[in-house]
Point group: C2
């Protein structure tokens, strides 16, 4: 019986010869999407046969070159004999979005459903195979002349630009396979930049990277451009965090050229490490990665490029670049093909950057809808966008890194071992908690904090100001002088062997963060003369992991108390938008249009902001009537509790 190994999970299964791969995967407990029900028509169940003998009938749906490279439809492929290894690309996220629980292990999901229905595949870099006629003594043409003519014949009139490393490859490459060569190109209407030239047909070896550079977290998606699919996602802390937790601290740290250079290298190290891990996990040559799109807040991108970011912080808060300059991987220091072009998502201002213009690409703000949407990206800074196809306002507030684990004693980002949900026993005060990956707890992530805080508040263990109720006794609440802290995970259950706790100071940080975001939403609405009720949709983006408990986010007053169906949790929308920009010129153009259209509101100079902020420094708000359903929940609980 054939033995099939499925990568990357490593699951194996024995099936009779002749079994369909799709069925074999199901038997092994691996879900492969097949909306057409295995008829071979939807083309969604693509898998990569790495070794072993199979009988496939995938032609017609997949291009010949893909099939030759081992890509098949799982529903149209029968396993024959021996040992077979099949790679199931992490086409994660087909089940993500809208607060449903994702089923894949990875939490940085590409949500196919966030993509518009129709869009044209036109990635930043393309590969193109052409046949160049041989040199003739009588025509007096150079190698470059023949190459360029052949390219223009298929590609239309354009200026073609070769870098020196590419020029050096030309004479031998042209002659190695009788003039059959594959170009890797960046084409921007006015001209073609040749990134690479390889002998023969190498169009199937075509990768790109989508990179999200956050103040706290850096994420990389390795995209197989030939099929437009994500083959690996990796994320990690930004190595810069040793130099300051938030954007302002980083800018202050980079006050001299040596420090600026240090920060540049730190963030590059983080990104390059993730790219390397992603590429190695699928045995991909870094030289076959020939384009990259990078999104990040304005300061992160300035620091990554080694550009003095001090003027972002000083009035009048001027960034040096907003729209993407033309830069190569070699110039920037990214470890992919050195001639690769990098594209940077455009910034709106010093505090609303490319992560936001990428993020709103997956929302109705990028469509021609007249309905008003609010987009909230909760990261180290909180950024908001409000508007529709007619207008867009945006602002940033210094929420701080609390929701990403920064400034919280046992805080951590949404990774293995993070407490992501916690309920509180109203009687004993003991927490029931869930960790990411179901392993021993290491710390608590943003979604865990929201869940815990809401439940501590609803059960009365903390009051509206976030202080522990000294009247109620619990062995999980430890009062030390004027301060108290709460044991979420007792030492004996934790991965570290120490109590995992949350202190009143930690809670204060979280409350400040949520207050900054809520009051900014409020102010932005006031600026356009609207109320929360006027919003059709609220998009929440951020690195909260697989899911965000919306109900609890409302309880703590992070987001307004609106009908639940108006909310969409879209996870790391910056990374998703970056992937979209890598894949299609249409999205690049749309993103530029959006960035140019947005009006930046500076909160620092808005006098009403401080009042709004102070009003929001309570759970859920000083004015509980703004949160009627929370008031009801609280009242219900108190009634029940006193019964």
């Amino acid at each position: 019986m054939p033995l099939i190994t499925f990568k990357p999970s490593g699951k194996t299964i024995d099936v009779p010869a002749g079994t369909e791969l799709l069925e074999a995967a199901r038997k092994a407990g691996i879900k492969i999407d097949s909306p057409c029900g295995g008829k071979g028509s939807c083309g969604k169940c693509i898998v990569h046969v790495l070794s072993g003998i199979v009988d496939s009938d995938s032609l017609g749906v997949l291009p010949q070159t893909a099939v030759a490279d081992g890509y098949v439809l799982a529903c149209k492929t029968k396993v024959l004999d021996g040992q077979i290894t099949v790679d199931i690309p992490e086409q994660v996220g087909r089940t993500g979005g809208k607060f449903t629980k994702a089923t894949t292990e990875d939490f940085n999901l590409i949500r196919q459903e966030l993509l518009p229905e129709r869009w044209e595949y036109e990635p930043l870099a393309i590969k193109w195979m052409i046949k160049v006629p041989p040199a003739k003594i009588e025509d007096g043409l150079s190698d470059l002349d023949r190459l360029s003519r052949a390219l223009k014949r298929e590609w239309g009139e354009c200026e073609i630009i070769y870098s020196l490393p590419v020029l050096r490859k030309i004479p031998d490459t042209l002659r190695e396979k009788d003039g059959m060569v594959t170009f890797t190109l960046v084409n921007d209407a006015k001209r073609c930049y040749v990134i690479n030239i390889q002998p023969g047909d190498t169009t199937v070896n075509h990768y790109g990277v989508a990179i999200d550079v956050g103040t706290t977290t850096v994420a990389v998606e390795l995209v197989y451009l030939f099929l437009g699919e994500v083959v690996a996602v990796r994320s990690d802390y930004n190595d810069q965090i040793d130099c300051g937790l938030d954007v302002i601290s980083r800018i202050n740290y980079a006050k001299n050229p040596e420090r600026l250079e240090e920060l540049r290298k730190r963030v590059l190290n983080s990104v390059n490490r993730l790219i390397k891990q992603a590429a190695e996990s699928h045995n991909i040559d870094l030289n076959d990665i020939s384009s990259g799109v990078i999104s990040g807040n304005t300061a992160m991108i300035h620091l990554m490029l080694g550009i003095n970011s001090e003027y972002l912080r000083l009035e009048p808060y001027t960034p040096t670049i907003r729209e993407s300059p033309f830069l190569t991987a070699a110039e920037v220091g990214l470890d992919i093909n050195p001639q690769s072009w990098l594209y940077f998502s455009p910034h709106v201002g010093s505090y609303v950057g490319g992560d936001i213009t990428a993020g709103i690409l997956c929302t109705d703000l990028a469509t021609d809808s007249k309905d008003i949407s609010l987009f909230i990206d909760i990261g180290t800074n909180g950024e908001l966008v409000i508007g529709n196809s007619d207008f867009m306002l945006t602002c940033a507030c210094s929420a701080g890194p609390a929701f990403e684990g920064g400034g919280i004693e046992f805080g951590m980002r949404a990774a293995l071992g993070a407490v992501e949900k916690a309920e509180v026993d109203p009687k004993t005060g003991r927490a029931h908690y869930w960790t990411i990956g179901n392993v021993k707890a290491k710390g608590i992530c943003g979604s865990g904090m929201i869940s815990l805080l809401a439940n501590l508040y609803l059960t009365g263990w903390i009051d509206a100001s976030g202080k522990f109720n000294r009247q109620m006794k619990s062995k999980y609440i430890i009062v030390e002088g004027r301060f108290a802290k709460y044991i979420i995970v007792p030492a004996k259950e934790s991965a570290t062997g120490k109590d995992i706790t949350i202190s009143e100071m930690d809670i204060e940080n979280i409350v400040r963060a949520k207050a900054a975001i809520y009051s900014a939403c409020n102010l932005m609405l006031e600026q356009v003369g609207m109320k929360f009720e006027d919003l059709s949709t609220v998009y929440i983006a951020g690195g909260f992991g697989r899911s965000l408990d919306l109900e609890k986010a409302i309880v703590i007053g992070l987001v307004p108390d609106l009908p639940r169906e108006k909310f969409h949790y879209i996870g790391n929308s910056s990374l998703m938008g970056t992937y979209m920009v890598l894949l299609s010129k249409e999205f690049r153009e749309k993103q530029l249009e959006l960035a140019r259209k947005m009006t930046y509101v500076e909160l620092n100079t808005a006098p009403a902001y401080m009042d709004q902020y102070i009003g929001a420094l309570f759970l859920p708000h000083t004015d509980i009537n703004r949160f009627p359903t929370v008031k009801k929940m609280k009242d219900d609980f108190t009634t029940k509790g006193t019964k």
Copy 2:
């Protein structure tokens, strides 16, 4: 009395206060051109006052910024008091051209008279000072937006491209002098490349280099672009000569990537050394050199760029590049401002390169003249161009490096200590010789060889086949077995303390070189159905030093026996043309037009060439009737001699 020191000669002179600088220079024996006779109208007597107090009235003729920087007209400047240092730029060559003897010490002359009368100054890189308005919080513009808008306002709509090192300089530079910045730009109609940005007005610090890369000799001109003048010329052997004397040996040497890399580094070392020397001689910061034009034969340019040159040598003799790619100094490895753009003179084919398309820029071939011109560039290869404004034919012949000193035992290039002229005593056989710089002889250069060979032939010491007449005895002719050699400079007079000689083998090499050139001229004329008599002008280019003795060149049969007024010796025309290309877009466009217009004739595949060549292997030719004036000279001498 003021003490004036003139640089670079170091000559000093005491003159009364109030003396004009022009007069002071004359008194010190330094010639400064002043065609207008000191009226201050021609603007030719520009000098640079480095220190000391002078009273100048140069405004009106010189721009204010130049005067502020110390550039004055010598005729309109009076010395006042104290110690004054004046630099006289090597505005060499105003007296050059047309076989007259140049008076400057340097032999690589810029011949102003080779420039067309009217041409527009538009160098490859320009400097442009603009005022950028300060950042405002309300307009939301980035530094780059403000810069680009300010630039476009003055420069017109164009795409502006910044490299990363320039981007990094922007934020501080913009703020250092209240938005007053100087751009260094390369502008090619479709876009502007920003090479540099500096605070304040730095338009006067603007330099470029014109580089001629020959197989044997490399020459560099450092050009002060602000005034369009050459400030220093340096030349030296190409460090590659250790790896082969001619182009074919170099291509063979570069047969593997390590060897190719070695040759690339060797030629770059030569060029960078000369640039450094030139810059240091005038205390110029290499970063202020922000453009370069490079001309060389096709193989030299391929090797300099590290591009496999093997296919130049193999049928169908295909170069990889003909027209200039867009490359920066950093990419190429040239030690000037790393962001500088380099422009390469276009090649016609594998054996007619950018040195020729640069060279013919200073001839009537670049005008709309209908007269037929012949251009002969005598270097390691001999290249010819024949034609007029309607047609142009070009070919190359392997003359070998004899005229540059290569393959000749005591051969050397036209540098200090080279015998450049030699007469021979008909009775004793003793040579009377002249050396460059009037110093002890080190060897013999091309013009010396021509002069010596012609005189040995006319006086009968050698016969038409280049062999010493064994019947005539002289203590300067030493016969060793079947071979003989001739002592040009006896040991006691030479710089090395050894005899400087020329052997029959050396003479054979020289004869082969001249035969290759003459027979190629002949063949090209035949191809267009013309005779030598149909030529209006014959331009002779090459590194022969200050002068070429035309009469003697005809005696040995290097050039045809035509009326002498038809000949123009134009020296290193490649360097002159390169300088022109650096200075004006007009010349770049003309050069491209000429390169595209030329038809390349491959001598290797022309059956008649070998016959022509063999016929030319005599002094002056097998058929003496082709050289009637030489025949007459010889007859006259013989008659006199026998009298």
